[in-house]
């Protein structure tokens, strides 16, 4: 069967899982019946002595049965027994690892999140929805909508919402800026996808792989880059004053936040859309053209429908990411433009944990709602066309361009200038500011970091402590998240009933903000839990590592799982038919083949941990467990120079991670 029917594959799926389940239950003693002796009988025939083969000469099946019995009694030696025990452990290794990962995930993620939920629901020892009710009726959060929740008539609320004096509250503002950010990201990301998918030029591959960079760039570092660009004394105003234009005030405006969000999310949109565009089969487009469709019509009818799902995925993720935005708004917006997440942080600092928890849960509910709606849509519209022959790329610089060819290229040129400003300026400004002094270039800011380390007071942020903490936490988080990620990858690429559920449970950390995990860890394990009269409390460092591991391991899964998924299942089946257990197959066949993905996942995890801000800032409040990003945040208001210097250090570390990811597994990254 050359083309295996999809239904057939599905069959394979179910039964393989069932077989696994049976094996895991260990009902397999019958297997040992096929003993070495019997194998020898076969081998004799196989080695040319076929006329003397025992089965043949003895005639009939009776002797065969005898051999069998003899052998099974002989095989019950102690050696065999020991072998069987080791075998049984090995067979269950995957299960054991799965249980271990489940326990870790529960402790590191679900338990803290549950703590937050309980915090919001239990007030003075009583279960109540009061905290939520107060939130929903508070116009400070929900604006005019709050009156609706308070029982006012929808008509009057609706009228006020349409009027120009509407109030949208913090939640409304958060959604509003998320929608604008998404639109801006689309506007910046889609032309990039067009350029990357349809044109050939020098550096295209590099540019394409750079789209993964925002995932590893610490958001606080991007924030400082924006401050260095758009601030009062930023590079933008510097350039403007040079050409005689007045200073502009972009910092602490919505525009700055939106541009920073686009910096983060446009590459994501470009990335997923380019991938979809590249998987469009050229022959489908050519067929449409030969049937009479114009290029525009062919785009609309054939290409666009295959891009929508990717664009929508990028948009949905952008919305969720920007809805839960934190460090960027904290640094660029201040509290005047606070989003929900920033306000949750504010409440935590005011020690108002109940309201913080309730607000965080509301935020989570909205984010998950959007993700769920998207996943529902995706499930219904999933069209996976495999581009047998991708669309050919046009040269970006044709030798003799016609007007028709010139127009899109001019557009690309304009886009390139905009993109240059948005993507390059912040990084360049940060680097420039870190070495800029009143009298030309200087290393003063770096020197300041060194001096502060030597002479700083105990309450001051010491740079070396921040670097050391960051590295320590990253190594710890890596040690936890790498095995977790690999195990989850294995579990989510196997086929069995309930796989989807495992997928959702294990990927939830991607959707839950670091703040929630941070509060949960702070209020639970760090403040201490009473178990049977013992008060258990973990140190801040342990909690930070836990929080980092939780936010890192989904990225390991996203780099390892696609590799495992694309492995030919026949490889695994061949190994098993040759006698390898499921675990052995994993070690011998699957992991060696996806090794680059594992290393890339490790680099990812390391970079994410180094740049993690949300949960760290919650857990490190008032302690000396601060990391580089937290140190930058503490510097940012007062000392821009040292903050940018610290940012450059962070940039170096994450760039190294990026190079590793790119060399080893960026192509297959599943986002």
């Amino acid at each position: 069967m050359a083309g295996k029917e999809p239904a057939d594959t599905e069959h394979v799926a179910q039964t393989d899982g069932e077989a696994d389940a049976i094996r895991m239950n260990g009902e397999r003693n019958a297997a040992s019946l096929r003993t070495d002796g019997e194998r020898n009988a076969t081998s004799l025939r196989m080695n040319g002595e076929r006329n003397a083969g025992p089965i043949r000469t003895d005639g009939g099946p009776v002797p065969l049965t005898e051999t069998e019995e003899n052998d099974s009694s002989r095989s019950r030696s102690e050696d065999e027994q020991r072998h069987h025990i080791r075998d049984a452990v090995e067979r269950r290794a995957v299960v054991l690892f799965a249980i271990g990962t489940t326990i870790l995930l529960s402790l590191l993620f679900y338990y803290p999140v549950a703590t937050v939920l309980v915090e919001s629901l239990v007030v003075e020892g009583r279960l109540t929805l009061a905290a939520f009710a107060d939130l929903l009726r508070n116009p400070f959060y929900f604006g005019d909508l709050a009156r609706l929740f308070a029982g006012e008539s929808p008509l009057s609320v609706g009228r006020d919402l349409l009027s120009s004096e509407r109030r949208i509250g913090i939640v409304g503002f958060t959604a509003y800026q998320a929608i604008l950010s998404t639109l801006l990201s689309l506007a910046l990301g889609l032309p990039a996808a067009y350029l990357l998918a349809r044109y050939e030029f020098r550096g295209r591959r590099t540019l394409r792989s750079l789209t993964i960079l925002p995932f590893v760039l610490p958001s606080i570092m991007v924030a400082i880059g924006f401050v260095a660009t758009f601030g009062q004394n930023g590079t933008l105003n510097g350039i403007l004053s040079m050409v005689g234009l007045g200073p502009v005030e972009l910092l602490f405006t919505l525009e700055a936040i939106l541009i920073a969000h686009a910096f983060y999310n446009a590459p994501l949109i470009a990335r997923v859309t380019t991938a979809a565009w590249e998987s469009v089969d050229a022959s489908a487009v050519e067929t449409a053209r030969s049937l009479g469709a114009s290029p525009v019509r062919a785009f609309r009818d054939v290409i666009a429908p295959q891009l929508y799902p990717a664009v929508l995925m990028g948009a949905a993720l952008t919305f969720v990411f920007t809805f839960g935005t934190f460090p960027i708004v904290l640094a660029l917006g201040g509290f005047e433009l606070a989003t929900v997440e920033v306000f949750v942080y504010q409440l935590v600092r005011e020690l108002n944990y109940t309201e913080a928890a309730a607000l965080a849960i509301v935020e989570l509910a909205i984010s998950l709602g959007v993700l769920y709606a998207y996943l529902r849509y995706e499930a219904k519209h999933a069209v996976r066309s495999q581009g047998i022959r991708p669309l050919p790329r046009k040269s970006l610089f044709p030798s003799q361009p016609s007007l028709r060819e010139l127009l899109p290229r001019i557009a690309i040129g304009i886009y390139a200038v905009v993109a240059l400003v948005v993507f390059i300026a912040p990084i360049a400004s940060m680097i420039y500011t870190s070495v800029a002094g009143p009298n030309g270039l200087t290393l003063d800011h770096y020197r300041f970091l060194v001096d502060r380390q030597a002479t700083g007071a105990a309450y001051q942020v010491r740079p070396w402590s921040a670097v050391r903490n960051s590295l320590l936490f990253a190594v710890g988080a890596l040690a936890l998240s790498l095995p977790m990620g690999v195990v989850v990858s294995v579990l989510t690429t196997r086929r069995y009933r309930g796989r989807k559920l495992v997928d959702v449970i294990s990927m939830a950390p991607l959707a839950v903000s670091g703040i929630i995990v941070g509060i949960g860890l702070l209020r639970g394990p760090v403040f201490g839990v009473e178990i049977a009269g013992w008060r258990l409390a973990v140190g801040g460092a342990v909690a930070i590592i836990a929080a980092h591991a939780v936010s890192c391991y989904p990225f390991v899964v996203r780099t390892v799982a696609p590799g495992l998924e694309s492995l030919d299942p026949r490889l695994v089946e061949s190994a098993r038919a040759l006698g390898a257990s499921r675990t052995r197959t994993l070690v011998d066949i699957e992991l060696p083949l996806v090794w680059p993905g594992v290393v890339a996942g490790a680099a990812f995890a390391f970079a994410i941990s180094i740049g993690e801000f949300s949960s760290t800032v919650v857990l490190a409040t008032g302690t000396d467990q601060y990391t580089m990003p937290v140190a930058i945040e503490r510097f940012i208001g007062r000392r821009l120079g040292p903050a940018t210097a610290m940012g450059v250090v962070l940039l170096v570390v994450t760039s190294i991670s990026f190079v590793i990811i790119d060399r080893l597994g960026g192509e297959s990254f599943g986002l």
Binding site: L44, T65, L593
Partner: protein, 412 residues
């Protein structure tokens, strides 16, 4: 004309038994109460169109799928709840699935990590022997991607044989190769199988391949076995119109009996306006279906082979209940008014014969090199004729009544 090679084996013990295997996936039934058995050292082929369930069945034998009902036994041992790695079977997939990160030698030796070489030799020696067997000595340090398709396939076979499996399973191992290579490798596979006398179950959709390579063939359709028999029996005496048309080209006719023996030597059948004479099959097709029925030396202890024949019967008859099968009444029982379906191979139609002559119109013809295959239009239907001559226009063709083979009877 009975298949001698399979007769030879009728007294061999049974290596593999499928008993009433049913595989359902939700609403669809992929395999429906299928039973068959394969003897030690036999080359057994499952052939059928895409989606007939042959690959599913092979995967069930290997342990990658679990039957909903029924049992699979290897050498009398139930495979229920036995994971694939403990079944002691060798499998070769269509794409070979060589481990790309291992050398040829490591691939071949992989199974020896879990079992001693069956001949008691060292692992290295065993690998060398197998590579010699498949003509790949000197290739041991290469990686799979440095090999051609045919070489990869031979490595896959060597790998499957290394630990001395009880049964070798081959899942369309030739279909990724070009036609010439396929024929050469077919011979090689067959000769290795003969040399090792290893029980082999081969899955293919290529009926020509199935006929060329097998001791016995099971023709499958929609999850059931249509017919099991030697290649010659399958070709010469198909027991259903499906088999008649799937195995080789065939012309299937269906008509009403006008006169039948004993009043006449031949059965006279009316098809449209024509009347055709066909010879009553003197040999009951059922006889040839399973060689064991014929074997006087049938061991009484060997109830497996009797099993085999009975399961064959049930599998074919299950499908043809409605035919009121020939086993109930012999052919001579045909009486006027009965309906009969029979087939005549294209090469048996001739423009030279005087028997059963009728006029037909040439629709088109294909030049095949050694002959020409022509499509004729006759009685609102198409017929195929294979002849040395190039035919045009309106021609008279006929066939010897003895060349007609009855596949189905509907008694009045």
């Amino acid at each position: 004309m009975r298949a001698l090679d399979s007769n030879q084996r009728s007294d061999s013990p049974v290596a593999l038994t499928l008993d009433n295997v049913t595989m359902r996936y939700g609403e669809t039934t992929a395999i429906d109460e299928l039973s068959l058995s394969v003897r030690e050292g036999e080359f057994f082929t499952l052939v059928g169109p895409s989606g007939c369930g042959k690959t599913t069945l092979l995967r069930a034998i290997a342990g990658f799928e679990t039957p909903t009902e029924g049992s699979i036994e290897v050498r009398g041992e139930s495979m229920e709840a036995v994971p694939p790695e403990d079944r002691g079977l060798g499998i070769v997939f269509q794409n070979y699935a060589l481990f790309p990160h291992m050398s040829v030698a490591e691939n071949v030796g992989y199974g020896l990590n879990f079992a001693e070489p069956p001949d008691g030799s060292s692992k290295e020696q065993r690998i060398a022997d197998l590579l010699a067997l498949v003509d790949l000595s000197g290739m041991s340090t290469r990686t799979p991607e440095q090999l051609s398709g045919g070489q990869q396939q031979r490595v896959a076979i060597a790998r499957a044989l290394a630990a001395g499996p009880d049964v070798l399973l081959l899942d369309e191992p030739m279909s990724a190769l070009d036609a010439q290579l396929r024929e050469r490798l077919r011979l090689q596979v067959k000769s290795i199988q003969k040399e090792l006398e290893i029980t082999t179950v081969y899955v293919t959709h290529d009926q020509e391949e199935a006929l060329a390579i097998s001791d016995r063939v099971a023709v499958m359709s929609e999850g059931t076995v249509e017919q099991i028999g030697s290649p010659r029996a399958i070709y010469d005496r198909p027991q259903s119109s499906f088999v008649a048309e799937f195995i080789g080209d065939n012309n299937v006719f269906s008509g009403e009996v006008i006169e039948a023996p004993p009043s006449l030597e031949h059965i006279r059948v009316r098809i449209g306006t024509e009347t055709i004479s066909i010879a009553p099959d003197t040999s009951d097709p059922a006889i040839d279906r399973s060689p064991s029925n014929h074997s006087p030396s049938n061991h009484s202890t060997d109830d497996s082979s009797t099993n085999d024949s009975s399961t064959n019967d049930s599998s074919t008859n299950d499908r043809s209940h409605t035919d009121r099968s020939h086993t109930d009444r012999s052919h001579t029982d045909l009486t006027p008014g009965d309906r009969v379906t029979f087939c005549v191979r294209p090469e048996k139609l001739s423009i030279d014969t005087e028997r059963n002559r009728f006029e037909a119109t040439v629709k088109n013809s294909e030049f095949l090199g050694d002959s020409t295959r022509t499509t004729l239009e006759w009685e609102d239907r198409e017929l195929l004729i294979q002849s040395p001559a190039h035919l045009i226009g309106r021609i008279a063709v006929g066939f010897d009544p003895a060349d007609a083979h009855i596949v189905r009877r509907e008694l009045r």
